[in-house]
Every structure is written in C-alpha cells, then in structure tokens.
C-alpha cells in the first residue's frame, strides 16, 4: 500500500488546482501509477477508494481500462460499499466492447437472487445500463421473477430493466408482455410509469403487441383522467401539476395506440380535450403536458375541432414569454402548416411577430413558417412584413428571405406592376443575396408586360441613378434602359402606384393603400425629364465602375449599343465608347465592342434591324401570365407543303447563320424576329439543355361515334427543337369515314409542317388506320399548344370538329 497515495477529496482538489493541462496530466499520471500498484498488490480495505479515484479521472477523459478487473472484484465482495462502487465502475468503464463485461453476469445473477433490496437494485441498475444482448438473454427470467416481488422498490427497477432488455433483445418481449396488464393496475407511481414505458417499448417494436395493447386504452384514459381531475399526492406533484412525467408518458402511449386507429382515437377524444383545458399553463410542467397533448392530437384520428384546439394551443405558446416554449411552438406549427393550413393561418400575425426574435433559431423558423403562410389573399401584407424583415435581418437569413419573397411574389402577384415593384425592392435591399435566375426572371417579366415598359424603365433608371453597386439590379436596369431607352426619354412619368413601405397597412382589393411613407433607398420615378446625355453618362459610369462585374459591364455595353438606334441625335459618344472598348482587357467585352464597331462601320444599314426590340422569351416557369397567354393565340391553320418566304429578315438570318435554311421557315409571316447577334443571346436565360430522349406516352385526343384520333410523339435526339407527331385515326364503327381532312395550328413562335396523309378514308370495323405526320419546330422551347380541325363524312353526315389538345406531355416541348 503506497503511503503517498491521495485521498479522493485531496486528489480532486489537486486536479482542480492545476493551472495547466500539463500539470493536471502530471498529477493524474502520478496517481494512476499508485492506483495501478494498489490494484496489483491487492488492498481489500481501500480498493473501493482507489476505484473511486480512478472513476473521477475517467470522467475527465483519461484512460482507465486497467480498473475493469478491479470492478469485478469489488462487485463480488460481500460489503455493500464495495459493491456500490464496483457496480458504478462497471457502468462507467465496461460496455459491450470490452471482453470483461460478460464476467459480471454471474455476479449480477447472484445479487439478483440475494433478497437484499439495495443489492438487487444495484444489480438491476448495472444490467440496464450496460447489459449486452447476451447478458440480457441470460438474466431475463431472473428479472421477470422480480416483477412480481412484493417490494415496489425492486419492482419499479425491474420493470425498467425489462425495457432495456427488450431494446437489446426484442424476442424477450414474449416474456415481458404478459405481466403488463396486471402491472397497469398498480397505484405506485414508479411502477406505473415504468409499466407504461414498457408497454410503449413493446408496441413500438411489434405490430402484434400494438394490436394487443389497444384494449388497455380505456384503462389508460381512466388513469390519466384521474390524475388530471383528481390530482395526486404532493410528493408526486411538480409545480402544481400531478405527476407530469406519468401524464406525458401515458399521452405518448395513447398516441401510439391511437395512430391510424379510428376506434381508439375516438375513445381518447374527450380525455384529450379535458387535459388540454384543465392543465395549468403558468409553469413549464403544465406546458410540457399540453405540448405532449398537442402532439398526440395531431397524430391520431382526432375530431376536427380537437385539431383546431391543438393549433390554438400552439398559437398561445407563441405568445409565451419563455423562449423554449415559443421554439417548440414554431417547430410544431411548421410540421402542421401543410395539413392544417387554415387553422395555422389564424395565428399568422403572431408568427410574423416572431420574425423579430433576437434568437436566430427562432427567427429562422418564424421565417420558414411565414413563407409557408403566404397565400393570394394576404400576399400584399405578408410581402410588406417580409421585406421589412429583409432590410434588417441577419445576413445568413437574407438569401432564404429574398428567394422566399420572390417565390411568393411569383405565385401570388395580384398585378404585374406590384410584381415588378416587389422584385425591384428585393433587388435594391438584398441584391447580392438573390439567386442567379432572379435577373432573367425579372427581365422576362418586364418584357412580357408591354404596358409597363415605360414605368419599369423609369423606375429602374431612378434606382440605378441612386446606386450602381447592386449587381442584379444594375443588370436588369441596364437591359431595360437598352431596350426601352426611347420610352425613358419620352415625357415625364405619370402618377405611379405609391410605394408601400413600412408596417402592414390596410389594403383594399384593388391594392390601393391608405397612407404612404417613403422607405429607405427607394424613390418614386424621376419627376423631371431625363436627358439623353444623362442616360449615356450613367451607362458609362456602370461600365467604368470597379464594382461592376464583367457580366454587368457586358449588359451595359450592349445597352449603350441598343440606344444608338433608340435615341435620336448623333451617336458619336456611343461610337467612341465602342472604339475604346475595342481594346479592353476583358476578352468578352473586347469581342462585343469590336463586333459593335463593325456594325457601325461596315454594316450600318443592318444596325437597326439587328438591334430591334427583343421578342418575348418564353421560359418553362410555373406562372404563365395572362398577357403572354393571349399573345400565343393560334396564328393560322396550315395545310400541305410550306411556302418559303424570303424576306429581308431571313436574309439576315442566313447571314447570321441561325437556322438550317429558308425551307424551314414558317408559313405564316414573321415575326421571325431577327435575334440580334449571338452576343445578345446569353443575356436571356434560355431554359435548360435538351433532355436525354425518353419515350413519350401516346395521347388519345378525340373520339366520336367510333372514330378515334391518337397522337404519338417523337423527339429525335440530334435536334432538340424538333418534335414529330404522328396522328393516327382509327374507326371501329360500322360506317366508313370519308373525305377525312386533319388540319393543325400552333402558336406563333412555333413552325409547323404537315406532311401528306396516308389517305382520306378511315375504313370501318377497325380497318387500316390513316396516319399523318406533323413536324413541329420549337426554337424557343415554348410550351406546346396544338389545335386540331377535323372535317369528314360519317354516316352520311358532314362533321366538323375544332378543338385544342389538352394534357400534352411536357416532354413534347421541354
């Protein structure tokens, strides 16, 4: 026995007094050496102290494996103190990975059958803390015996040990299932709690057990009701709530039993309402029970009124001063917002308040929830709140907030002007955080809203004049100025819709606002006339600015070029810029400048045509606004072979080598708007690359009195813009169909070619079907629309049918 070994308290004291990690290590290493020696030499009187020291050291993270065998020795000792520390050591040092752990099985077995409660408790404790599957199998029957022993002290521990054993060895459920029903009638809270936990574990592991235990639902309901309504002894109350732990555990079990089971759910409906209304909410304990009740209500087949009650409880939680409670409320509401949308909507104002929480985890969830609550009736108010939030929220939330606002605007925009304003505001406030496609989306949106071109370009001009640092904004503004520069200069702006800035104000259906307050960094459109020189100067500033990205400068350069045709007066200034940039370091800009220079010098006669206004670019987005739909109205019907039209435009196309050849040109007159030069193509975000070919399902489009029309589609892999449709007409009726003519029409941006049909008769009784091939070119990848006109004779009658084909698969045009 080494004399200089420290007492436990002293060791702890010394370790705490160590100033550095190294010092601490030194003390510990020294002491561990003593401990090792003591174990080796054997010191039955003091070994429990040595082990205690070792355990402390282990808790700090130092190795202590050499104490494992000592634990075994101490467990086997008859002295209680030894056993206690020995078992504690086993729990801390031994686990399934150590070979030594099996050796204590025997000790545990002996101690379990000893009959001394305290010792049995120790043994059970250790078993449930670190018992491996093997140990559990060996000792299952011992534990089962203890379930029925008279002493509640041992029984409650035995029940919980059974829980652990079932987790380790699910087959042991067979042993532990039968006693449960009886145990459920216990009055002792500890045993009851353990039993409910045990049943929960059994049910979670086996559907058969779940089925079996549904019959105890009434019993559970009764117990919980008694707890809530009658209360229990003081020693089991927490903050005035009767045994909240037991309540929560019962509620969890009820949840599992009632899930997907109509009958059980019904049995517990009243009880749940009772718990919800009778629980004291002033302290956390009560709220914990309420929370569990809400979770249960939402998971079982509860009545609608009960669900609303649950959502309202969560809504009240949102107003609680305790942050933790607000947190669980937000998290739960997020899970419910899809399934119980209208109930959650009622708490929208409170949710929006939570946006301003200083705690990041709360405000993030509030943001997610707020975005999920936006719908067409509250979009204006919500966007207002969210934009206010965007202005001051922490940087890591900005991207989500910005893209959330843009998405909501896209889905629910009440008017185009509002939409444009909203995007503009987002770009001004948080331009650097928006996604890449925001620029293309806004351009497309503005492009499609012809009546708003003047408004948009003026707003954008003002915004740009104020600040040229927000790149997405600058890019859109430059594009617009280039496209609509003429509108910018024409007169002053008319009265625009006043900007809505600040807290949610009252909104009428038409969107007129009561009261206006100017917001940060947003001005109404310039009241005075804009001069040409100003515009050019601004674009030049953008070009030269350090803050402008290469892409932005590209936009500015092209915009300047376009202005040479839009604005009157000489173009010397613009020419000058082009020649300067002809030797720019940036290869991209240089190329553009050189090409534009060429336009000025050698191809001036083509300049106007090249720089004409852009056509609307279709994109396969979720929202196709009304004006765009109208503009895609079917142009004309077509028949037989195409008639090529050689116009100035198509000559230009040849020059620029964009299409395969004039023979593919449309039958209808252009707009085949000349797309001005390759350099401008990448301004617009043309949608995705061609998809790998996959078979497109056939479509039945027409049926009348036995005559059926089917369409089959092919997208040849080499030509992504080409779609081949085969129209097949079959006739199962008794009479022939004669003089059959099929004509087709497509929107303006498409090109259609009908090849000659196989015949004009569809014989009766399922005779040889008639086929006809349609070739459709879709250079803009626009959504396909197809109208068919059929004329034929059938049963002695002339028939004419005109209809649009619905449900065209997206693979036909994407």
């Amino acid at each position: 026995m080494v004399a200089s070994s420290l007492k436990l308290q002293d060791l702890i004291q010394e370790i705490r007094e160590a100033k550095t990690q190294a010092q601490e290590r030194e003390v510990i290493q020294k002491e561990c050496a003593h401990i090792r020696a003591s174990f080796r030499d054997g010191d039955p009187l003091h070994s429990h102290r040595q082990l205690a020291k070792l355990l402390y050291v282990h808790m700090l993270g130092y190795p202590a494996h050499f104490g494992q065998m000592e634990c075994l020795k101490l467990i086997a000792s008859p002295r209680f103190t030894d056993k206690r520390v020995g078992y504690l050591g086993a729990m801390l040092l031994l686990d399934e990975r150590q070979d030594a752990h099996l050796l204590i099985t025997n000790s545990i077995k002996n101690d379990l059958s000893q009959g001394i409660e305290a010792v049995q408790g120790l043994a059970l404790c250790t078993l449930s803390a670190m018992g491996s599957a093997e140990m559990c199998r060996d000792l299952a029957l011992e534990v089962e015996k203890l379930l029925l022993q008279p002493s509640p002290y041992v029984r409650k521990k035995a029940v919980l040990t059974a829980v652990h054993m079932i987790r380790k060895v699910p087959e042991l459920s067979d042993i532990f299932l039968p006693p449960c029903a009886q145990l459920l009638h216990e009055r002792h809270h500890g045993i009851l709690l353990g039993t409910v936990t045990l049943i929960t574990e059994l049910c979670e592991r086996s559907p058969a057990a779940l089925q079996h235990f549904r019959k105890v639902v009434p019993q559970l309901v009764h117990t919980l009701r008694t707890l809530v309504m009658t209360g229990c002894s003081i020693e089991h109350s927490v903050s005035g709530v009767s045994d909240p732990f037991l309540q929560v555990q019962i509620l969890r079990l009820l949840r599992i039993l009632g899930r997907n089971h109509e009958e059980s759910s019904e049995t517990m409906n009243d009880l749940l309402a009772q718990v919800a209304t009778n629980t004291d909410t002033s302290r956390n304990a009560g709220n914990a029970v309420l929370f569990e009740t809400v979770l249960t209500i939402m998971d079982i087949r509860s009545a609608a009124g009960l669900r609303v009650l649950a959502v309202n409880i969560l809504g009240r939680f949102l107003l609680n001063s305790d942050r933790n409670i607000r947190y669980v409320a937000l998290t739960s509401l997020l899970k419910l917002v899809q399934s119980d949308h209208s109930a959650v909507q009622r708490h929208r104002p409170t949710v929006v308040e939570c946006l301003w929480e200083p705690d990041a985890s709360l405000s993030r969830r509030a943001l997610e929830l707020s975005l999920a609550l936006v719908n067409s009736s509250n979009v204006r108010a919500m966007t207002q709140e969210l934009q206010g939030f965007l202005e001051s929220c922490p940087p890591d939330l900005r991207p989500d907030c910005a893209s959330g606002i843009l998405l909501a605007a896209e889905r629910f925009a009440p008017t185009k002007r509002w939409h444009i304003d909203t995007i503009l505001r987002v770009l001004t406030t948080a331009g650097t955080y928006v996604r890449d496609d925001a620029v293309a989306n806004l351009i497309q949106l503005i492009g499609g809203a012809q009546e708003l071109h003047a408004y948009s370009v003026r707003r954008l001009y003002s915004a740009l004049a104020e600040d040229i640092s927000q790149q997405p904004l600058v890019q859109v503004a430059a594009w617009c100025i280039g496209e609509y520069g003429d509108l910018l200069l024409e007169g002053t702006c008319e009265e625009t819709e006043p900007l809505q800035v600040g807290p949610a104000l009252g909104y009428t259906e038409e969107g007129h606002v009561r009261g206006v307050r100017a917001g940060p960094r947003i001005t109404l459109c310039a009241p005075r006339k804009v001069e040409k020189e100003e515009v050019l100067a601004l674009l030049e500033r953008v070009l030269q600015s350090q803050m402008s990205l290469p892409a932005t400068r590209g936009y500015a350069l092209t915009a300047l070029m376009k202005l040479s045709t839009r604005l009157h007066g000489d173009n010397n200034r613009i020419c000058q810029v082009m020649s300067i940039y002809g030797s720019c370091q940036d290869v991209e800009l240089q190329q553009r400048a050189v090409e534009y220079n060429a336009l000025f010098r050698k191809y001036d006669h083509l300049r106007a045509a090249v720089l004409e206004k852009m056509p609307l670019v279709e994109r396969g987005g979720p929202q196709v606004d009304e004006e765009a739909k109208e503009s895609k109205e079917v142009a004309q019907l077509s028949e037989a072979a195409p008639v090529p039209t050689e116009t100035q435009a198509s000559k230009l196309l040849d020059l620029l080598d964009l299409l395969d050849g004039p023979s593919e040109n449309a039958q209808h007159p252009p707009p085949l708007d000349p797309t001005p030069g390759d350099t401008l193509i990448h301004l617009l975000d043309l949608p995705c690359a061609p998809l790998p070919p996959a078979p497109i399902p056939n479509l039945k489009v027409f049926e009348r009195e036995g005559l059926q029309l089917n369409l089959s589609f092919v997208r040849p892999p080499g030509t992504p813009t080409l779609l081949l449709i085969t129209v097949t007409a079959t006739n199962t009726s008794g009479g022939d169909v004669t003089h059959f003519i099929c004509q087709a029409a497509v929107p303006k941006s498409f090109q259609l070619q009908l090849q000659a049909p196989s015949g004009d008769t569809v014989p009766a009784q399922g005779g040889l079907p008639m086929t006809q091939l349609l070739r459709i070119l879709n250079p803009n990848k626009a959504p396909l629309r197809l109208k068919l006109r059929l004329t034929y004779d059938h049963f002695g009658q002339s028939v004419q049918e005109i209809f649009e084909v619905n449900n065209l698969p997206v693979e036909t045009w994407q």
Binding site: Q9, D10, R84, T161, F245, N287, A288
Partner: protein, 130 residues
C-alpha cells in the same frame, strides 16, 4: 429515451458530448440536446427526435432539486467532491434514460437505506477521515 450527462465545466461538456455522440451506432436517430444552466453548472440531456423537450427540462430541474435537497445547495464543489453520490441519486431518479421515481421522499428513502447498511467504519472511510 434520454441520456443524462453531468459535467461541471463547459469545455468538458463538449468533450463528453462528443464522446457520447461518437459512441452511438449508425442507425440511431438524431439527437437533440436539452441543457439548463445553473450558475456555473451545466446539465445536458440528450433526447431523441420524437421526445418532448419541455418535459426534459422538468427532468433536469427535478434532478437539480434532488441534488439540492441532498447537499443543501447545489454548487460546483458539492457535486464534484461527491460525484459518486450524484450518480447514486441519479440511479434512483432515472433508469436507462427513463424516469423512474419522482417522489423525493422515495428517492432519499432508498439512499438512506443503503447508507444505513454501512458499518460506521466504512462511512468514515468513505468521507476520507481515516
């Protein structure tokens, strides 16, 4: 099912938590950590995804109350110098991560039971007086 961890100082919490988390097997579900701070003491409890966080706060608080009742007051030195006692009390309160007994009377009845089983000599030894 929860997992109680008693630690005194914040840096050490991280280490222990990491150890516990790394010790978990791949198929176990995600952990949530619920913790409560009492002056310089941190009590952390790891729970599963579907467990109720609010009741976990109650569990932590009840344990602190138990310690408080036993030691007279809960502060750093008490729990550290008597860490085995803290474990023994814990073993009467929680069991395999589940709540076992919430009556303070019953918890201490058991502990005292065990202490009475000691002979005087071993008690003295235990508190380091011989």
């Amino acid at each position: 099912m929860g997992c109680p961890i008693i630690r005194q100082i914040e840096e050490k919490i991280t280490r222990e938590l990491l150890q516990t988390i790394l010790a978990r097997k791949p198929k176990m579900c995600n952990l949530k950590i619920v913790y409560k701070r009492y002056a310089s003491l941190y009590f952390s409890y790891a729970i599963e995804d579907q467990d109720n966080e609010l009741i976990t706060l109650e569990i932590v608080h009840l344990y602190v109350e138990l310690l408080g009742k036993y030691f007279g007051s809960v502060c750093d030195p008490d729990t550290i110098f008597n860490f085995e006692k803290a474990y023994f009390i814990l073993d009467e309160f929680l069991w395999g991560g589940e709540v076992q007994e919430i009556s303070k009377k019953n918890v201490f009845k058991a502990d005292l039971l065990q202490e009475e089983a000691e002979t005087p000599r071993t008690v003295l030894e235990e508190i380091g007086l011989t």
